[in-house]
């Protein structure tokens, strides 16, 4: 039911693991449903310079995790946010209908990690600007 490309990535996924000093971390899914995806991003100048994932889930979940990390690596966060679940599925040569939700998870995982990054950055910026303001004052 899975494409060869998908099986290949499932058997030998890229970017597995965690980034200890990640700039953004996204966790989506639910262990009760059998699928959880955790995405770690390392970002420099709004560009994704490294990305890793940890996934608890089916072959499709693992392969889409791997694929989505490949797709966003090197992209700016703006570009990364445009990567859709369809892009992921296409890059894998298609997904069986009942597994489309796994690719949605991949899309959401990136978004969550970027959001986390932006939220952190925002906070840092705010803190930074607060510091600056203080300095000004």
């Amino acid at each position: 039911m899975y494409t060869e490309k998908l099986m290949q990535l499932f058997m030998d996924p890229k970017n597995v693991g965690r980034i200890e000093d990640a700039d953004g971390i996204g966790e989506v899914g639910n262990p009760i449903c059998g699928d959880v995806m955790k995405i770690y991003l390392k970002i420099e100048d709004d560009r994704i310079v490294d990305v890793k994932f940890e996934t608890f889930g089916c072959a499709a979940a693992i392969a889409t995790s791997s694929m989505v990390t490949e797709l966003v690596k090197g992209k700016t966060i703006e570009e990364a946010l445009k990567v859709s679940n369809k892009d992921v599925a296409e890059a894998l040569g298609g997904l069986p209908p009942q597994k489309v939700h796994c690719s949605l998870l991949a899309e959401e995982g990136i978004k969550a990690a970027v959001d986390d990054y932006l939220a952190k950055k925002d906070k840092t910026k705010r803190e930074a600007s607060e510091t600056r303001q203080c300095a000004k004052a």
Binding site: E54, F56, C58, A59
Partner: protein, 388 residues
């Protein structure tokens, strides 16, 4: 891949070569319709009669108490709907258990929509139905109790004698789905209080698409498949001669194996597999009953990983296994059996079933014991949970 190890005999078994040989003449040579009067037909009729003898002998029934069906699910449906429609004026209450096969559970659910009242008995953590629970559930309008002989997912064998005795004592018909048990553990319908019993050829080295229903003499049901009146009117349709002959041969071979205590060898290998896995893999548990279980059946849950991934990684190593994980079907709920024995969802998702066969070897078990721990480990290394 260095080896092919099929450990999914609960799903289906390879057809024994002797069974295939017994079937072969009935395709193109003795191909007659058993209902025909001419030589071709008579030959086919004889073969069907012989197969009925062989299947009846496996469970110590009379040949006239066996009808052939188009599979195990069909036999379950014939039994349950057959009693329901036959007895609906006497009562509409049916009792079953939470861990039945879908062929039983979904049939009961459908009957519920048609105005029947269904009680679903709970099971304990080992998947055993407590006879006392059954006794409490029986009501004056109870017409049927349907509880499987042994579970396909966790291997637990039920206390059939006690369950059946309660039914008999209360005058309620007792059906048991013995698809997983028949041919693998001794079943004697003269000794056990069973009124109807389902079997399937393909779970005992016979062909797919043929099952049998034991209907105790005197029990009346309404047919599910109406027509030409074959199988004493209880399952119409031209008999699947070759398939039935195959079932007969498979049953005869199973009787031999049981007489020679061969399942005992399977049990020993199986125990080595269970012990080895529990020893080598952390955070692993056996599901189902440790002792009251099918001799060829081993089933586990591994924390922090998901069953489909596990299956497919094993498949890549030549190992055929199965899982009650929801992800194998793309649904979100894991197997109703694993939930019914009280496992939380996240653990139930990490289930693995390894079911041995008569030809499983020591080397096969070694191969699994060598590779499964690695696979579990590599998947856990990918998981956001668990130790690292």
């Amino acid at each position: 891949m260095s080896r092919f190890v099929y450990l999914d005999h609960s799903a289906t078994t390879p057809v024994d070569q002797r069974v295939v040989e017994a079937m072969l003449p009935f395709f193109s040579i003795d191909f007659g319709n058993p209902n025909s009067l001419h030589a071709w037909g008579r030959k086919a009729r004889q073969a069907v009669d012989q197969a009925r003898d062989e299947v009846s002998r496996l469970i110590n029934a009379e040949p006239s108490e066996i009808i052939f069906t188009g599979g195990g699910s069909e036999a379950d449906n014939i039994a349950i709907k057959g009693v329901a429609f036959a007895k609906k004026d006497k009562g509409r209450h049916i009792i079953t258990s939470a861990i039945e096969h879908h062929a039983v559970l979904d049939t009961c659910k459908w009957l519920e929509k048609e105005g029947f009242d269904i009680t679903i008995l709970p099971v304990d953590e080992y998947g055993t139905i407590r006879p006392e629970e059954l006794r409490k559930a029986i009501r004056p309008d109870t017409i049927l109790v349907t509880i499987h002989f042994a579970n396909n997912e966790i291997g637990t064998v039920q206390p059939i004698e006690q369950l059946g005795s309660i039914c008999r004592e209360q005058g309620v018909l007792f059906h048991t789905d013995a698809v997983q048990a028949a041919g693998h553990i001794p079943v004697d319908v003269k000794k056990l209080p069973i009124d109807l019993m389902t079997m399937a050829a393909h779970k005992m080295y016979g062909p797919k698409g043929v099952g049998a229903l034991y209907i105790k003499k005197g029990v009346k049901i309404v047919p599910l498949i109406h027509g030409g009146g074959q199988e004493r009117g209880w399952r119409s349709g031209t008999e699947n001669t070759a398939g039935i002959v195959g079932f007969g041969k498979a049953a005869a071979l199973a009787s031999d194996r049981l007489a020679k205590d061969e399942p005992e060898k399977e049990r020993n290998l199986r125990d080595r597999l269970i012990d080895g896995i529990l020893e080598k893999i952390e955070d692993a548990m056996l599901t189902g009953h440790r002792k009251e279980r099918l001799p060829f059946h081993a089933s586990f849950c591994f924390r922090y990983i998901e069953g489909e991934s596990l299956l497919l990684r094993l498949d890549a190593l030549g190992i055929g296994a199965s899982s009650g994980s929801a992800c194998t079907s793309g649904s979100l709920e894991p197997s109703h059996v694993l939930l019914a024995i009280g496992l939380p969802h996240e653990i139930a998702h990490g289930s693995l079933r390894l079911t041995l066969g008569k030809d499983t070897s020591e080397e096969d078990i070694d191969y699994v014991l060598e590779n499964l721990p690695k696979v579990v480990e590599s998947l856990r290394a990918m998981s956001p949970y668990g130790k690292r």
